[in-house]
């Protein structure tokens, strides 16, 4: 008897359970409110933070002190504004970005690759602010990477969806003491000279290039893209990163670059365990004097000036031919405003303040180590000439002259770095992938990801 009762009741329980589940029956995504981002921001009088107390919500990256230093200074100058800041690792921000922007829209947020966020209408269109504050009169190259066409494609033109706190610059850092040891008094001026220096370092028993390529972060993408820019023009690489129709990474110049990288690998110019080295290990080894060169960016300038004072130099990647055009990965430290942010005007005012306020620009250089954004004739803080920060800032001017700023090939799509560049570069190191195969695989993954979106 008890058994029969039980079965009857469990039927009822099943009904209850299914009832709870029934709520899930609508198609996913269909019933969630879509942010309305299509409306452009007001273009009338320049927006500001007002004088009433206001709390700004920020979502920043852990380990980078610049945004915090800027918000602290901003509050000092505008006491009615306080900041409620949440911090996460960049990888976590990348994974969280869409949901955070949709469910809990921050006023100001450190952004990963923006194409898909724009496609989903999660970011505020900043065209109105650009007109109001005069951002559209800044050098166009500063904002190019932050402009997107309708639906997020292509990048490089169209409406403005984000702004940078500064403009980072990448190239080759080198250890001056080790350079002297192999008789390198000047940074190499051509690719052939760089090859010679690497060979001399190898002969001298040094690690010629300290790089990372372990886990899910294929750091050999740094030397690879630099080699690409050495062998060919920067524009087609940018077209590929910007997802322009018909763009391909599988070009003859890029093949030469990848073959050159393979030559470096086979010659033993990278550490033997490069596939197990992460970014932090690379940094500590380079600071420890274990490598001659390191491909990295000026976000480390301040750090290296402190830890290797006077012993570190910076140069842009040399061109293949003497006097050829130089190019470098150079991208804004991207920040954006959520489409549904409560205090969008104040966030825009803050971004403008970062680029134009004297003290903010000083903080940008001292703490950020990179070139501030802003008008071409804006105030530039002085940096002692013997500091590596001075070299990285000067490199910015060279790149602007040669029109050689590139975004990072890892930023072409949201998943291209972890899913395609990284495993294939790791295979190239292990001799399990050919240069031609690498470019073909990445191109087909890229095409697949664009199609999927």
């Amino acid at each position: 008897m008890a058994r029969r009762v039980r079965s009857g009741r469990s039927g009822a329980a099943l009904v209850i359970a299914l009832g709870t589940l029934a709520a899930a029956c609508a198609a996913p995504g269909g019933n969630s409110p879509q942010p309305q981002a299509t409306a452009t921001s007001p273009a009338s009088a320049a927006p500001a933070c007002g004088s009433a107390p206001i709390t700004m919500s920020g979502y920043f990256e852990t380990g980078f002190p610049l945004p915090k230093a800027l918000t602290t200074e901003f509050t000092k100058q505008h006491p009615n504004v306080t900041w409620n800041v949440r911090e996460d690792q960049f990888a976590v921000i990348t994974q969280n970005a869409p949901r955070v922007l949709a469910d809990n829209p921050p006023d100001l947020m450190r952004l990963p690759q923006v194409s898909e966020l724009v496609k989903d209408d999660l970011l505020k269109n900043l065209d109105g602010y650009a007109t109001a504050f005069g951002w559209d009169k800044w050098p166009a190259s500063q904002l190019e990477q932050l402009r997107l066409g309708q639906g997020g494609r292509p990048r490089g033109e169209g409406s403005l969806y984000a702004l940078g706190l500064n403009m980072s610059m990448t190239g080759l850092f080198y250890n001056k003491k080790l350079a002297a040891q192999i008789g390198m008094s000047e940074p190499p001026a051509t690719l052939a000279e760089l090859d010679q220096a690497l060979d001399k370092a190898k002969q001298a028993g040094l690690t010629p290039i300290m790089q990372f390529n372990g886990g899910a972060t294929g750091g050999l993408a740094f030397p690879l893209q630099n080699l690409m820019a050495s062998y060919g023009p920067a524009a087609p690489i940018n077209d590929w990163i910007f997802q322009k129709p018909g763009a391909t990474i599988d070009t003859p110049a890029n093949l030469q670059a990848t073959q050159h990288l393979e030559k470096w690998i086979k010659a033993g110019y990278f550490q033997k365990d490069v596939n197990a080295v992460d970014y932090a290990t690379m940094m500590s080894r380079f600071i420890d004097g274990q490598g001659l060169f390191m491909f990295n960016g000026d976000w480390e300038s301040g750090n290296l000036d402190k830890q290797m004072a006077g012993n570190v130099g910076f140069t842009l990647m040399p061109p293949a031919e003497q006097g050829g055009k130089r190019a470098a990965m150079s991208a804004p430290l991207t920040f954006g405003i959520a489409a549904n942010a409560k205090n969008a005007d104040c966030a825009a005012f803050f971004l403008n303040w970062v680029a134009t306020d004297k003290r903010a620009r000083e903080i940008g250089v001292e703490i950020g180590g990179s070139r501030p954004m802003g008008p071409a004739d804006a105030y530039m803080p002085d940096v002692a000439a013997d500091k590596v920060t001075a070299s990285t800032l000067a490199a910015g001017a060279d790149i602007a002259k040669d029109d050689g700023a590139m975004d990072f090939i890892a930023n072409a799509t949201g998943a291209i770095y972890a899913k395609s560049w990284t495993p294939n570069l790791q295979k190239l190191v292990a001799g399990k992938q050919t240069p031609q195969g690498l470019l073909k695989t990445v191109q087909s993954d890229y095409a697949g990801q664009l199609e999927g979106n």
Binding site: R6, A24, G29, G30, A276, G414, A415
Partner: protein, 304 residues
Amino acid sequence: MTPRSAHRRPAATRLRGARGLAGWLFILPALAFYTVFVLRPITLTFQYSLYDWNGIGPSTWVGLANYGKVFTDPDLFDSLVNAFQLIVFFSAIPVVLGLAIAATIRRIAASRLALVARTVLFLPQVIPLVAAGIAWSWLLASTGVVNQLLTLAGLSGVTRAWLGDFATALPAVGMIGAWVLLGLCTLLLLAGMSKIDPALYEAARLDGAGPWREFVSITVPSLRQEIAVCVTVTVIAALASFDIVYIATQGGPGNTTMVPGLQIFYLAFSEREVGTASALAMVLMLLVIACALPIQWFAKDGGK
């Protein structure tokens, strides 16, 4: 039907109903949690697996196409193959080694050494997996303790970055798992051994059985239930592994340590292909059930 029985019946039904209702009230909280946190996510995952969806925008119905992708995309399929390779390390080593260690500890049960051995072996189970992963990635680094010991032993030729080498990364991750799960298996098996009737051993010894014979004929058969539990838990740990791999290698180098758990995470949060991620999750769940159920049946039949 007599008046008496007519009276009694409704009373009995009422009583039964009341008692049943009370019983259901008691399990209601648990049932609610189970429904909200287990049944609902499973149902939702199944539903998502039938759509092409990026997690935010509108979704498109694609039927079973995502399941087709799980079995045809080499990246996704390879991660399933890797998970099965991990079973060797996560299950076979801890269970076999655990049996040997438990048998040894039982023989010296009274000594202080047994207590120390038990504690040391169980310690990895107490340490969070993330901490274990970090510690082991240091030990296995090219300048880590493992390579230092090998160099000391004159084996500098075999030293390498164990987690960064295509041939050794998966076994290295497997060894971390074996280290974690060995203590659990040893303790479970040891507990099982303490329930075996000592008279059995005495009888065997009178019949002239040596330690090996005792182990094979008495210890192992008596531990059938415990071994089944060990195998079930470790097989699930191997198939559903995530933390150790995420910390130690993140699936690299070149996807050699990619496991379904990690792949699902990347698909859903980095590639934003929620549909494919959900399909892989459903496949993984069914695989775990398909592996765990036979072990359970085997244990039950053996017990009878």
